[in-house]
């Protein structure tokens, strides 16, 4: 199967699932009309893509199981959890250096300098200039 056929199949199934669950997810029957019409369209379009997809289509170079990609997503999730628990600035002071290391930087002096300067700039813009508060 090509990547468009996989996408088409997944979205057709999503359309079908939405069509089935919509009546249980709305308080008024009129609220469900538009989502149900759209879910039928999604199903039909998904099937159309599966049936007409070209075998010559370009393949994607990046794998979703690439460790770099997964670690990066985990790092962002960790940062969000940290922001909600210990606050923004301490979280950034940890996640920014980790992000730089992940992106291939190995000069620790530069990493620390950049992290401190960036955090300082963010504080100046958000707290001082805009008068807003980060969590």
């Amino acid at each position: 199967m090509t990547r468009h056929q996989i996408s088409g199949s997944v979205l057709a199934l999503l359309g079908l699932a939405t069509f089935i669950i919509t009546p249980f997810q709305v308080n008024l029957s009129a609220s469900g009309i538009f989502p149900r019409i759209i879910s039928v369209c999604l199903f039909v379009m998904g099937v159309a893509v599966v049936l007409t997809s070209s075998k010559q289509e370009k393949k994607s170079n990046v794998s979703l199981s690439d460790p770099l990609l997964l670690i990066f997503l985990a790092l962002i999730l960790g940062t969000i959890i940290a922001i909600r628990t210990i606050g923004f600035y301490p979280s950034i002071l940890v996640s920014l250096p980790l992000c730089l290391i992940l992106f291939g930087e190995r000069n620790f002096k530069k990493i620390i300098f950049f992290s401190l300067v960036t955090t300082g700039i963010i504080y100046s813009i958000i707290d001082v200039l805009l008068g807003s508060m980060l969590p």
Binding site: T22, L42, M45, I80
Partner: protein, 514 residues
């Protein structure tokens, strides 16, 4: 005409605040810098700045975003001309002749042609917006909900079928965006739906966390993985090496000046590019890259020496830059008069309008005329900021190309998280951003174009509202969409466009010319 001048005069009064002009100038400058950094497009720049416009008054906030878009448009041509590395997608065409000229030691000449062409075309396109927005808005007031819904469907169809991955996949993406727009409150009754009992989902998903996840974080992750896979060191691009390489080319003779006779040669190309770009800009979805390409090809065909194109013809640079910049002004006409964004940048600007409590649409021009004319004027003034910054900064902007990307990417990710939070001061929005980063990655992997998805997500609620208003007015009868002449014509045009594009694609597949 008198009303137009009156509104323009009141609009001028609104501009006499330092905040507005400073924001526009700041937007142009930041756009110029971000456009000059390969990998950071105008879209990423707008996504990152949209949340901060919340802290400015409406004119200043929108002026900053529009200035940013203008700055990034020219900024993208700097690395394209100097190193054949387009900073923005539309700058690819500029590189056709810009880079060969730079290799001959005439980079300064090429950059000046690009700058003057951009600013002239952009100024003319802003005049088109200034004079044509009001008549289109007057026509838009007269249309009812059925016609409005049909126009939205037509616009979404155009945006979807022009997706580079193919028309059917584009339409699939558009339908997915419409489905996502159903999550949250029903636009008519306000009752929650498809929320699975979650209070956080009941309020709907804000456009800013969605765009930041979709277009910024997923783009950065994708770029990093792609560059790692292709063995590119994120911190390794050295402009000194690239400059030395260029100096070894044949015919290398430094000449960075642009004479008046050379500029005169570019005028027809600028005029042609401006007309093509303005016409394309008024249509939703077609975009700057197509305008740039069509303008370039038209100038090449009109030239007495077409063989010079691709080898450093200054008219080629002028045509490409005029074509892509002339899209900017007319592109705002459907946004302001109908609430329909013509491209992704306009969709994000629509998000900024909404954040400021303003709703573009048929009545917008009537209710907010002075504000809109103030914006049109500041758009025009921004071209002078772009010209000024361009002239002063051209020689320094080349340094932006060599900034280590790993630092830029890390900072962009952190600013995206901040932007996601500060719009509603809600940490849960950070999860939306992460969720949409994952969806963005899945879309990239699955070859699903993301522009139709985002634009249909933005327009989904208004489309549903208009459809249901029409049904309420006609006792639930849907055939009214076909029997009303205007809505029937737009729906028929949508079907014809889809059938023709799909037929053409299938025929191309059969003949093997994909």
């Amino acid at each position: 005409m008198t009303a137009l001048l009156d509104n323009a005069m009141i609009g001028m009064g609104l501009l006499l605040q330092w905040e507005v002009l400073f924001s526009a100038a700041g937007g142009v400058f930041v756009g110029l810098m971000m456009g000059a950094i390969p990998g950071l497009s105008d879209i990423i720049a707008i996504c990152l700045l949209v949340p901060f416009t919340f802290y400015l008054n409406p004119i200043a906030g929108i002026a900053m975003l529009m200035g940013l878009s203008k700055g990034a448009n020219f900024g993208g041509s700097i690395p394209a001309i100097l190193f054949n590395i387009p900073g923005t997608p539309q700058a690819v065409i500029t590189a056709f002749d810009g880079y060969p000229l730079a290799k001959q030691g005439k980079a300064g000449k090429a950059l000046k042609v690009a700058l003057f062409s951009s600013c002239i075309a952009d100024s003319v396109s802003d005049c088109v917006l200034f004079f044509f927005a009001a008549p289109v808005a007057m026509a838009a007031i007269m249309i009812g909900p059925a016609e409005h819904a049909a126009v939205v469907i037509f616009a979404l169809t155009l945006i979807s079928i022009t997706a580079e991955t193919g028309p059917l996949v584009g339409l699939l993406s558009m339908v997915l965006g419409l489905l996502l727009s159903c999550i949250g409150a029903d636009p008519l009754s306000g009752a929650p739906r498809l929320t699975f009992g979650s209070d956080e989902l009941a309020g709907g998903m804000d456009i800013v966390p969605l765009a930041l996840g979709f277009f910024v974080i997923s783009e950065i992750i994708w770029q990093v993985c792609l560059e790692k896979k292709e063995g590119i060191n994120l911190a390794a691009l050295r402009i000194d090496e690239l400059e030395e390489k260029k100096a070894l080319e044949e015919n290398y003779e430094e000449d960075h000046s642009l004479s008046f006779s050379e500029f005169k040669k570019c005028v027809p190309a600028i005029g042609r590019g401006t007309m093509i770009g303005s016409a394309i800009g008024a249509l939703p979805g077609i975009g700057t890259t197509v305008a740039s390409y069509l303008s370039y090809m038209a100038t090449k065909r009109a030239s007495k020496n077409p063989e010079r194109f691709g080898k450093g013809a200054i008219e080629g640079i002028a045509a490409a830059e005029a074509g892509n910049n002339a899209v900017n002004g007319p592109n705002l006409i459907p946004l302001i008069t109908l609430g329909i964004p013509g491209n992704l940048a306009a969709a994000l600007i629509l998000g900024a309008f909404t954040m400021q409590g303003l709703t573009p649409g048929p009545m917008f021009m009537e209710q907010q005329a002075p504000l809109l004319y103030a914006l049109f004027i500041v758009l025009f003034i921004s071209n002078f900021f772009a010209l000024g910054f361009g002239i002063v900064c051209i020689r320094y902007m080349r340094k932006m190309v060599s900034l280590p990307k790993n630092y830029i990417y890390a900072a962009v990710v952190i600013f995206a998280l901040i932007g996601s939070y500060i719009v509603r001061n809600n940490t849960f929005d950070l999860y939306y951003t992460l969720g949409f980063s994952v969806i963005g990655l899945l879309c990239r992997k699955g070859g699903i174009p993301m522009i139709p998805l985002l634009i249909s997500y933005i327009l989904g609620s208004s489309l549903e509202l208009k459809i249901r208003q029409t049904m309420d007015l006609n006792a639930g009868d849907l055939t009214v969409f076909l029997t009303e002449p205007i809505s029937g014509a737009f729906l028929a045009a949508s079907v014809l466009v889809i059938v023709y594009t799909v037929y053409r694609k299938i025929r191309m597949q059969k003949t093997g010319s994909v």
